[in-house]
Amino acid sequence: MIFTDWTFFVFFAAVSLVYWDIPSNSWRKIWLLAASCVFYAAWDWRFLGLVLLVIVNTYIVTLTLTLTRKADDRHRRAILTAGIVTSLGVLGFFKYFNFFAGTISSVFGAPRLVVDILLPVGISFYTFHSLSYMIDTYRRKIIPTRNVVDVALYILFFPQLVAGPIVRATDLLPQMRELRSLSGVDARHYLLMFLVGYFKKAVISDNVVRFVDPFFSHPAQYGGGDALLAVLSYTTQIYCDFSGYTDMAIAVAGLLGYQLKPNFNHPYLAANLIDFWRRWHISLSFWLRDYLYFPLGGNRGGSWMQARNIAITMLLGGFWHGAAWTFVAWGGLHGVGLIGCHAWRRWQKHSDRDVGAYSLAGNLITFSWVTFAWIFFRATSFTDARTIIQCFGSFSLPTLAPWQYAVPAAAALVALHVSFYRLDLKAIAAKTHDGVFAAFYGAAVAVLLPFINVKMEPFIYFQF
């Protein structure tokens, strides 16, 4: 069940109708929890047990950390370590077992051990939810709840369960304590946000895939024109896919009375890579900053230590995305870019200047670097990535789509992206009369639907 599928609309309509009719907050949460289980089970019910294990682990560890608030730090650290090892152990086994087995066998020439493991959808996301909650409890940033339903719902809450945004317990748990009221929901804003997300995913992302998949499957068969078209299409696809999903997730949560923080802010308009990571997958970059980069030392200890910490963070960030060296290389490229950015800022004595101050040259360089890095993210092997890069060396017009269509389409997308940057959906929704909004919404859906790809490609980030 994905947000763009009709089954989700039926599911969500049923869930929200019942939800807003339940007078008690406790029962509402139980209802949402049940709905989240159904949502997750729609992929594979067998993995519900795995999520349950992570929930129980998180609950026990946070509760034990509360009970030992006054105990010595070593004791508490041991409890936290046990919790982290359990949650990461689940992730490590299901996501990385074959990767490590394969790497060890190729390094030592040992026979390869391959275990047929299905990757549970959303495992990277709910593991991070669990980790941040346990670490925040350990750091005494949050007083953990004793209500197991709250913990379960925090990890399983269906709008953000399978592909984020990575929500902090400090943001979500307080919202669960009070009864949400329907009149307090900015329905027009969230409906509009859902439509924008749906447009990004179903119209743009799912349609540009026709230029992406054939090229990345057999890159050696194509020339420079197709390479450029396919790589730019993938740059568009991954942004529209992921930010579209996030828009819909935030909107769905919002329509249930819960507010999730934004995860994207027009990243391709970033002036530099530091700015980019404040606009792209914001919840992940802040998670990595707070739970990995800062504990490693962050900016402290001079420029070399900062570079080391950035490199480790970005390499692990790349590894988090997928169990393949190409993802590590992608993270590494971003790490190199970020280190270069910091060095440039120090050299130019711009460190006091606003990181986000726009510059066209900076924007173009950043976009090119990010686009180049996507090659490694999307390629299935280094050999493919090298072949793709070699394609750029040969000049040829695109064959995947005639340039007469591709160029205006690309220009239209850029114009759309910039104009969306200038639009304030919330303000527009607030200003519009109910009737006008409804008529506009109906018409907008009618205009949008003919352009969707009915094959409904799965969201890219579901595989992470």
């Binding site: 919404y441 859906v445 205009v447 790809n453």
Partner: protein
């Protein structure tokens, strides 16, 4: 919950969706709707008195100009039109005939119907323009009821739920236009622009590779072909179709009669789904051979030249000159029926056949 904004949203959606649909059709979207295009062309053909309705076996197998010339030589004046549509399903056939008589209530005297009542290949592609444009509420309902009435479905075997999905998806898209531009762009075997034709007939190229050549390349095809011929030589079994399916076919013939024309069952030399067509013929002949004329070219032993691999391009379609020969044979047998006055006193045999 306030219902006014919801009603307004639905209303504006429907108005804009209809506008987009009209615009898409104006831009040529409808050209890929094989059933609609064939119907429009048939309706605009002047003075038609004989209509051939069926699948690609009819479309590529019956030349109306030659048919009329042969009939003329035998002293009968006919103006025939080939309303064959590749992979025409039974519900599409019902639709074509109903729409034809609604829009052209006069003139047609004879309607040749191919009894292939389990063909539904084209409607198993819910993303094709053909499915989307065909499945309005009325046709969807017709198809749903037909699915429930079917005794056997054509291969590959699928559940009735999947068949229902093949209807529901295009029905939804019919009214919402969801994804129509993708269907507009994609060319698949079920989604292509209507070919130019003369009186509805499309002649397969004379240079088309013959089935006998294909046998030379792959001997297993030959044995499969012989096996199919063997099956067709055995006595027909009417058990492959349900009573309700037969009633629906007879009902269609009654409708033709009600509109002043006379139906004739024409079974072309077919191999795919041939046993089901044979079942229809067997049931009709057993119950009401006097009431409904049947031109049966489905027995290989009686029509050897039509089944000769040198005269066919594949298991189911005749080569160019064989189609001409088939047309003449149909005209000969039809003229003989007219001479014998066999079509003068047609009556419904619904109550007898469906017993």
């Amino acid at each position: 919950m306030r219902l006014t904004p919801i009603a307004l949203a639905i209303l504006s959606f429907l108005i804009v969706a209809q506008g987009i649909n009209a615009l898409a059709l104006r831009l040529g979207f409808g050209d890929k709707y094989a059933v609609g295009t064939a119907l429009d062309r048939a309706i605009s053909a002047p003075g038609t008195t004989v209509l051939f309705v069926g699948t690609s076996r009819v479309k590529y197998g019956l030349d109306p100009i030659l048919f009329d010339a042969t009939m003329k030589a035998k002293g009968f004046h006919t103006v025939s039109y080939n309303l064959g549509v590749p992979a025409l399903s039974f519900v599409e056939m019902e639709y074509l005939i109903h729409e034809y008589f609604k829009q052209r209530p006069c003139c047609v005297k004879y309607v040749f119907l191919e009894p292939d009542i389990i063909q539904e290949a084209s409607l198993r592609e819910p993303n094709s323009v053909r499915s989307i444009l065909f499945f309005n509420a009325s046709n969807a309902l017709r198809n749903f009821t037909y699915i429930l009435q079917e005794k056997e479905t054509p291969p590959p075997p699928v559940s009735k739920w999947i068949l229902a999905k093949y209807v529901l998806i295009p029905l939804f898209r019919h009214y919402t236009n969801a994804g129509i531009f993708q269907s507009f762009l994609d060319d698949t075997h079920d989604n292509f622009r209507a070919q130019a034709s003369l009186n509805g007939f499309i002649s397969l190229a004379a240079s088309h590779d013959r089935l006998s050549h294909k046998f030379e390349a792959d001997a297993s095809l030959r044995s499969k072909y012989d096996e199919m011929l063997g099956e067709l030589s055995a006595p027909y079994s009417g058990a492959r179709i349900s009573n309700k399916q037969l009633v629906r076919f007879l009902d269609l013939m009654d409708y033709i009669r009600y509109n002043g024309a006379k139906p004739v069952v024409l079974r072309p030399p077919q191999l795919i789904y041939a046993l089901h067509s044979a079942a229809v013929v067997e049931r009709i002949q057993a119950a009401c051979s006097d009431a409904i004329p049947v031109l049966d070219f489905g027995r290989p032993s009686d029509n050897e030249e039509l089944y000769d691999p040198q005269n066919r391009v594949d298991y189911d379609h005749l080569a160019f000159e064989t189609a001409e020969r088939f047309t003449q044979l149909v005209a000969d047998r039809f003229a003989a029926l007219l001479d014998a006055g066999a079509l003068a006193t047609q009556t419904s045999c619904m109550h007898r056949a469906a017993r």
